[in-house]
C-alpha cells in the first residue's frame, strides 16, 4: 500500500446522464497502484456507473479518464481490458454451458495449428485456479458449480491476463466467510504485486478489513476520498447516507421481539419436492415474521417457491386458513393472498423494459385479468403512494425500471406485492446487494407490516438480519429443515452452530 506519486487511473470531472437520471456529476476519482480502493455509496450513488465509465461500458458525457498519465477513451470493455483493466461484475457474466477452462480463457485461447489447444488451455486454467486456491476441475462445465464457485472462476478469468487494474463489483455478495477470506488473501497477493484493486462491497466489515483507501459517492456526486485508517464507521455511514444516524439506530432496535398469537394462516405439512427440498412442516401465523436461515443452496428459496406454487410440490399438503390449497401455479397462491418477491430481481422479478408504473401494478393487474384495466387515476394514486412510501428514486413513474439502481429496483418489486395487500409476504433476499439506508427501510417495513397483521417469511443470507427481525427462525441445512427457534431468545451464534452442525460442505445446484 505504498502510495506512489502517480495514480494508475485518474478520472476528472466525470458526468454522465441517462434519460431521466443524472447518474454522475463532476466526479473525480483516482486509483493508485498497489492499493485496494473501496468505492462506497448507497444504491444509486453511481458506483456501478463510475465503474462502467472506467471500463468502457459507458462513455462519459464530459470529463477525462487517464490511465498511467495518458488520456484514454475506451469505447468497449474489450479495449479497457486490453489496456489492463479487468472487471468482475456483481452478476456472474460467464457462459454456464462452457467448461471452467473455456470460461477463464474465452477470447484468448491458446492456439495450435489454427485450432484451440485444449490441453494447454486446461493447463493454463489450472494454473490460474491454483494461484487463487480454487479447486475445481478445469474441464468440468461451469453450470455444474455453485454460484460462489462461478464467482471465483470469474475472478480467475480477470486475473488470467496481466492486469494493472482489477475491478471487483460486489464480488463477495454470494461468498461465504471462508471464500471471502480466500478472496481477500488473493487480493492482498495481487495488491503486493502492484495491481490496483477497485473494490465495491456493501459489507462494511469487509471494506475495513481489506481496503487501504476509499472514495465515497452520494447521488452521483463525489463526497470524499479518505484513507481507510483515518475514517471511522459512523463518519463513513453519515457521508454515505447523508443524513443523521437516527436511521441506523432505528435498524438496531427495529424489531422488538413479539410472540404473535394470531390464527395460523399457512400450514404446510410434509410439503416437499424431490431434488429441491425434503418434506417439511411449517406453520405461519398472521402478523408473524418467520425467518429462514441457512447457507446458500440449503433449500431456502426452494421452500419458498413451494409455498408460492412457483414450483409444484410432489408430496405433502398446504393449508391456508385451515383449508387445503392445491397450488398449480402462482395464480392460486396470489388469489389466496400469498406474495413472493424473488431473490433474482432481474430474471424473475422485474420486467426491465416496462416503466416503474407498469411494473408496480403488474401483479394487481394480472390478478384482475386483462379485461379489467386499473383505471388511470387509481393507478396513479397507487404509484404515487408507493413511490413515496418506499422512497423510490427517481420518483418518475415513466422511467424504465431497468434504469434504477439495485435497491430501488428491489423497492419497486416490493411495492408490486404491497399493492396487492398480501396476507403472507415471502421475501427472498430482499436486502441483498442494497445499501444500508434501503436495508433499514425494508426492515422497518417488514416490522410495520407484521404489526398490521401481515405474515412475513423472510429469507436472508445475513444471519444478523434474520435473527434481528424474525419472531421465529427456521433453520435449513442440505435441503432439509433442521430446527425451529424462538427469535426472541436466539442469537446468531446458536444459528451458526446449527447450520454448521455436521459440517457438511455447502452444496448447491445451479
Amino acid at each position: 500500500m505504498t502510495e506512489s506519486p502517480q495514480p494508475v487511473v485518474e478520472m476528472r470531472g466525470i458526468s454522465l446522464a441517462f434519460p431521466g437520471v443524472k447518474a454522475l456529476q463532476d466526479v473525480d476519482f483516482r486509483l493508485f497502484p498497489g492499493e485496494v480502493h473501496a468505492l462506497m455509496g448507497e444504491n444509486g450513488a453511481g458506483k456501478s456507473t463510475l465503474i462502467k465509465t472506467l471500463t468502457g461500458v459507458h462513455r462519459p458525457d464530459s470529463g477525462q479518464v487517464s490511465l498511467a498519465g495518458a488520456g484514454v477513451a475506451f469505447s468497449s470493455p474489450g479495449e479497457a481490458q486490453h489496456a489492463g483493466i479487468s472487471t468482475v461484475y456483481q452478476e456472474v457474466n460467464l457462459c454456464a454451458n462452457l467448461t471452467v477452462a473455456e470460461n477463464i480463457l474465452l477470447g484468448r485461447e491458446p492456439r495450435r495449428l489454427g485450432g484451440i489447444d485444449f490441453r494447454a488451455m486446461r493447463r493454463r486454467a489450472a494454473q490460474v485456479l491454483a494461484r487463487i486456491g480454487v479447486h475445481v476441475d478445469p474441464a468440468s462445465s461451469l453450470g455444474e458449480h455453485p454460484i460462489a464457485v462461478q464467482q471465483l472462476v470469474a475472478i480467475a478469468r480477470a486475473i488470467a491476463v496481466d492486469c494493472r487494474v482489477l475491478v471487483l463489483d460486489e464480488p463477495t455478495s454470494s461468498l461465504d466467510a471462508g471464500e471471502v477470506a480466500e478472496l481477500f488473501r488473493i487480493m492482498r497477493v495481487l495488491r503486493d504485486e502492484g495491481v490496483a484493486i477497485l473494490f465495491v462491497s456493501h459489507f462494511l466489515d469487509q471494506v475495513y478489513e481489506i481496503s487501504d483507501r476509499m472514495t465515497v459517492l452520494r447521488n452521483g456526486v463525489l463526497v470524499g476520498e479518505h484513507l481507510t485508517a483515518e475514517v471511522d464507521r459512523r463518519t463513513l455511514i453519515a457521508q454515505m447516507i447523508g443524513r443523521d444516524l437516527g436511521t441506523l439506530e432505528a435498524i438496531e432496535d427495529a424489531a422488538e421481539k413479539r410472540h404473535p398469537d394470531g390464527p395460523v394462516l399457512v400450514q404446510a405439512s410434509g410439503l416437499g419436492r424431490r431434488g429441491a427440498i425434503e418434506p417439511f412442516d411449517l406453520s405461519i401465523r398472521t402478523g408473524e415474521v418467520v425467518g429462514l436461515a441457512g447457507l446458500l443452496g440449503s433449500g431456502r428459496t426452494e421452500l419458498a417457491r413451494l409455498l408460492f406454487g412457483a414450483d409444484r410440490a410432489d408430496s405433502g399438503k398446504l393449508l391456508v386458513d385451515g383449508v387445503p390449497l392445491r397450488l398449480r401455479g402462482p395464480r392460486q397462491a396470489i388469489a389466496a393472498g400469498i406474495a413472493f418477491s424473488s431473490e433474482d430481481r432481474k430474471g424473475e422479478g422485474l420486467v426491465a423494459d416496462l416503466s416503474i408504473r407498469d411494473n408496480l401494478v403488474l401483479a394487481m393487474q394480472a390478478a384482475r385479468g386483462w379485461t379489467r384495466p386499473l383505471p388511470r387515476r387509481t393507478k396513479d394514486q397507487l404509484v404515487e403512494k408507493y413511490l413515496k412510501a418506499l422512497d423510490i428514486r427517481p420518483a418518475n413513474p415513466d422511467a424504465l425500471v431497468s434504469t434504477l439502481s439495485g435497491g430501488n429496483q428491489q423497492k419497486v418489486l416490493l411495492a408490486r406485492w404491497l399493492v396487492t395487500e398480501p396476507r403472507l409476504l415471502i421475501l427472498d433476499e430482499p436486502t441483498r446487494g442494497i445499501d444500508i439506508g434501503a436495508k433499514a427501510q425494508i426492515q422497518q417495513l417488514v416490522t410495520a407490516l407484521a404489526a398490521e397483521g401481515t405474515a412475513v417469511l423472510f429469507i436472508s443470507a445475513e444471519l444478523e438480519e434474520v435473527v434481528r427481525i424474525a419472531d421465529r427462525i427456521v433453520v435449513l441445512r442440505d435441503r432439509r429443515k433442521i430446527a425451529e427457534l424462538d427469535g426472541a431468545v436466539t442469537g446468531v451464534d446458536e444459528v451458526v452452530e446449527l447450520i454448521a452442525g455436521g459440517a457438511a460442505p455447502e452444496k448447491v445446484v445451479s
Binding site: P19, V351, D358, R372, R416
Partner: protein, 327 residues
C-alpha cells in the same frame, strides 16, 4: 416513443415523393360512381392483406414469438370459402363460407398456440409445421385445382367499394379494434410483460399461456381475413400462390415499424407505417419502371436502409447531438 416512428415516417414520405416526382398525378384522387380512385387508394387497397397479417404478427412478435404459418392459413381461408360457395351466387352461402373459414382459422391458431404455449416448442419451429402442412391442407380442400367462384357478395370483400375499397375499411377497422383492445384494456401491457420477461410475468400471476394462446389465435384470424380478401379480389382460390411469402412481408412490416424481434414493446402505428412502406415500395417499383430482374434487389436496398437508420449503432454513427431527456 415518437422518435421511434420518425424514421419509418420519413421513409414513407420519401417513397411517396419519389412516386410524385415520377408520376405527377400520383396523389390525385377522383370520384367515379361514388368510388374513390387514385394512387394512394391503390397503395392502401393492395396493402390491406399485408397490414392485417402484420397486425396479428405484431402481437405475436411482442410475446417473443413468430408466426410463419400465416400465408398458409390465408390460403386455407380462401380455399374453404370458395369450395363452400361452389357454383352458388347466394349471399348467404358466401357469408356462411366465410364464417366457416374464419372459425377454421381460429382452430388453426389454437393449434399454433398449443404447440407454442402448451408444449413449449420454439415458435419458429412450431409454426413452420403449419406453414408447410397448411398449403397441403389448402390443396386438399381445393383438390389441387384453382377453384373459381362467381358470387357478387363474396366479391365485395376484396373488390367492393363503400366510397373506399371495402378491404381498406376492414383492415382499418381491425387496426382500430386491436388498438382499442390492447391499449384501453390491460392486454397490451400484459403482452409486453410476457414478451420482456416470461418468468417474471408468471411469478407476478400473469396468465402467460392464455395470452400467448390468444395472440396466435388472433394472428390466424387476421390471416384468415387477409386470405378472404386475396381470394375474393380474384374470385378464386389458389392453394399454391395465395398469400405466398406474405409472412415475410408482414414480419418486415413489424420490424420496420420498430417492434423488436426480441419481444416486448411493440407499436401498432409502427406496423401500419411498415405495411404502407412495403406496399408503396412495391408500387414504386412499377411506377419508376425498375427492371423486373432487379426488383428484389431494389426492395432489399430500401428495406436495409430503413432498418439501418433505426439501428441504434447506425444512428449513433450519424452523430446526432445527444439530448439528455429529463422529465
Amino acid at each position: 416513443m415518437k422518435n421511434r416512428l420518425l424514421w419509418p415516417l420519413l421513409a414513407l414520405a420519401a417513397l411517396l415523393l419519389l412516386n410524385l416526382a415520377v408520376t405527377p398525378s400520383f396523389f390525385a384522387l377522383r370520384m367515379q360512381d361514388g368510388h374513390l380512385y387514385g394512387g394512394l387508394v391503390d397503395v392502401l387497397k393492395n396493402g390491406a392483406p399485408t397490414l392485417l397479417i402484420a397486425l396479428g404478427m405484431t402481437l405475436v412478435i411482442a410475446t417473443r414469438g413468430i408466426d410463419l404459418s400465416v400465408g398458409a392459413v390465408a390460403a386455407i381461408a380462401g380455399a374453404v370459402t370458395c369450395v363452400h360457395i361452389g357454383a352458388s351466387g347466394d349471399a348467404g352461402t358466401a357469408f356462411a363460407g366465410m364464417a366457416l373459414a374464419l372459425v377454421l382459422c381460429a382452430v388453426l391458431g389454437l393449434w399454433n398456440g398449443l404447440l407454442v404455449a402448451g408444449l413449449g416448442i420454439q415458435p419458429i419451429i412450431a409454426t413452420l409445421v403449419l406453414m408447410t402442412a397448411g398449403r397441403g391442407v389448402a390443396m386438399l380442400v381445393t383438390e389441387g385445382q384453382i377453384v373459381t367462384v362467381n358470387n357478387t357478395a363474396y366479391r365485395q370483400v376484396g373488390a367492393g367499394f363503400v366510397v373506399l375499397p371495402i378491404s381498406i375499411l376492414i383492415s382499418l377497422l381491425v387496426l382500430g379494434l386491436v388498438a382499442f383492445a390492447t391499449r384501453r384494456t390491460a392486454l397490451g401491457v400484459l403482452i409486453e410483460a410476457v414478451g420482456v420477461n416470461p418468468e417474471a410475468s408468471r411469478l407476478a400471476g400473469v396468465r402467460s399461456r392464455t395470452i400467448i394462446w390468444t395472440v396466435y389465435v388472433f394472428a390466424a384470424v387476421c390471416a384468415g381475413i387477409a386470405g378472404l380478401m386475396i381470394s375474393s379480389n380474384v374470385s378464386a382460390a389458389d392453394a399454391n400462390n395465395a398469400g405466398l411469402w406474405i409472412e415475410m412481408d408482414a414480419i418486415l412490416a413489424v420490424v420496420i415499424g420498430g417492434t423488436s424481434l426480441a419481444g416486448g414493446r411493440y407499436s401498432l402505428t409502427g406496423t401500419l407505417l411498415g405495411a404502407l412502406i412495403i406496399q408503396t415500395l412495391t408500387t414504386t417499383v412499377y411506377t419508376i419502371g425498375v427492371a423486373p430482374e432487379v426488383t428484389l434487389v431494389f426492395k432489399a436496398v430500401v428495406v436495409i436502409a430503413v432498418c439501418l437508420v433505426q439501428a441504434p449503432k447506425a444512428r449513433a454513427a450519424l452523430s446526432f447531438r445527444k439530448v439528455a431527456v429529463s422529465s
